[in-house]
């Protein structure tokens, strides 16, 4: 590309850059500004600038909440991958009408609000719900999974599964069947072929799906709030309460920026991995 074309390209990018600047960069700048005010309940948003709001995040309960949030996000990603892979494999081997019906079934939960689905999980997991009633019917002590970290993990996994399945299936579709035949002919068993050829070649789909699931579950609100409650508080729930209940906006802003940092690190890691592993073998 010569210089004048480069300049035209730059000009054409300008509107998009402006939109990003106004809608993303400016609010983040504003968050920084708010985070630098002295924190506290019903903070007046005056004084400072100081870093007390960030320092406050180092004390309880924030570190353990951050840890739980990251743990949930990573575990969700692991679970959707493990559960999604066989489904994606099945999907990518189907053709025609059967494939369209399967795809429809896989994405159909997304047509429903995540809040409605969370209520559905409450009915299933509650003490008076399916789990509790089943236990009672078996004359076991009535117990529920509601308001536990497990409940949040289950519901997050359910809600992100379709994305991972579709991302993995897209990658699986692109695998030339001759590659599998070649691996078998060279002496690899079907299991070995799966591990040495199929799994590595789905890496691009896995990374795309994982980026989405990691960040999505990190910032999920309805599911942790409804299913975890006080027993399994996440970072986003903390931020919500800082804003709406204790009116501690400086701490809420600082917490938001930390969450943003987590997301950026996770996404950056995935991007780095995909560039290093796949640029040469899959093209960019």
């Amino acid at each position: 590309m010569d210089r004048s074309r480069r300049r035209v390209a730059g000009l054409l990018l300008l509107p998009a850059l402006l939109v990003v600047a106004v809608l993303a960069a400016a609010p983040i700048g504003l968050l920084f500004r708010v985070a630098l005010y002295p924190p506290g309940p019903v903070a007046p948003l005056a004084g400072g600038p100081e870093l007390d709001s960030f320092a406050g995040l180092l004390s309880a309960p924030y570190p353990s909440v951050a840890l739980r949030t990251l743990r949930l996000s990573l575990l969700t990603t692991v679970l959707v991958t493990l559960l999604g892979f066989p489904v994606a494999l099945f999907l990518s081997r189907s053709r025609g009408l059967s494939r369209r019906i399967q795809t429809l079934l896989i994405v159909s939960p997304l047509l429903m609000s995540v809040v409605v689905r969370a209520y559905g999980w409450m009915l299933i997991l509650g003490r008076q719900g399916f789990v509790g009633e089943t236990l009672a019917a078996l004359s076991l002590p009535r117990a529920g999974l509601l308001h536990t970290e497990t409940a949040v993990l289950l519901a997050l996994t359910e809600s992100f599964l379709p994305f991972m399945i579709l991302a993995l299936a897209a990658s699986l579709d692109r695998i030339d069947p001759d590659l599998l035949a070649a691996a078998r002919g060279l002496g690899a068993s079907s299991t070995r072929t799966f591990l040495a050829v199929v799994v590595p070649l789905t890496l691009p789909g896995f990374l795309a799906g994982a980026s989405f699931v990691l960040v999505g579950s990190l910032s999920a609100y309805a599911i942790p709030a409804l299913l975890g409650g006080a027993a399994a508080r996440t970072f986003v729930m903390e931020i919500y309460e800082l804003v709406t209940i204790s009116f501690d906006w400086p701490t809420a802003a600082a917490a938001s920026l930390v969450l943003l940092l987590f997301a950026s690190v996770l996404l950056g890691g995935a991007a780095l991995l995909s560039r290093r592993r796949s640029a040469r073998s899959f093209g960019t």
Partner: protein, 367 residues
Amino acid sequence: MNPRDAGLALEGLGKRFGETESVSDVTLRVGRGELMALLGSSGAGKSTILRCIAGHLEPDSGEIWIGGELMDQAPPENRNVGMVFQSYALFPHLSLRRNVAFGPERRGASRGKAADLADEMLARVGLLELADRYPREISGGEQQRVAVARALAIRPEVLLLDEPLSSLDQTLRRELRSLLRGLQRSFEATTVWVTHDQEEALTVADRVAVLNQGRLQQVGTPLELHTRPANTFVASFVGKMNLLPAVPEKGKPDTFRLPGGPALRAERDAVPAAAAARSDGGAGEVLVAMRPEVVQIGHPPAAPGFNRIGATVRRISFLGDRLEIELELTGGTRLLARGNTLFESLAREGDDVRLYWPVADTRILIP
């Protein structure tokens, strides 16, 4: 050849997909170290046969013997068959070295030893310096050579090549053809080379098996196919063949008469039994066949042993190193003659000329 002594033997192989019979009753024995070309147009069943041999498809009937062992129940990984795919099927996530080392590693070689072997194989196809590259980073011709190195790295009993040169340009094709032939000889691998290109099949193979609609038409050396085609399909698929409809002469099993024209002769062994039989009953058409190369223009030498016929020159085209002349017989049958540029001084378009060719080069085919 007994199936146990053959490098590869197919015994009555059959495979159908739903209603269509892709391969029917194919019996083919390839000697150890022999290069057999499997020639046919697309849809003739060539790839189906290859996939059955490699174990990726299960035949409906028949037996597959590899290196003297009955193998049709064995999974692909136990057959010791190296295959070069039309798409090359190199693993995109592995370097060229790891691609070639894949087979030896799966067969128990340590990673280091497999890598050494891979380097040796890459050196033999002249690509050692690219060992750390990935398949996407090299050209089609180079990918093809890696695919061959990978298939031979397992020292296969049988090497299968599925249209190995079809996606390469003409010059590269010639170059790789001789490289492949050289490697095949030095590894003494029993080889099946699938192609739809008759020139490729005839130049490269020890023997050629011609396939049409899932059925084997003829198996023979390139020369045999050219001079003694078994039927009209082989005759017209392998090079060009003039086919003149004729009727057997009563009581003379080696003589055939063109409608309203002269009688033509063929040697007894060039007349199939079925055609000879017709000379008794009279009726029933046969085809008098000869290659355009054997047809001469002018008066035949005084010696006997020539067929002769009159024709009108319709078109003369220049083929580079020789001329092709299209002629028309009385009755409208067309035939071709090919020869050196001397032909030009003998005939002009529209001329009536005399043609002759040796009886020894005349074959009789059943339509």
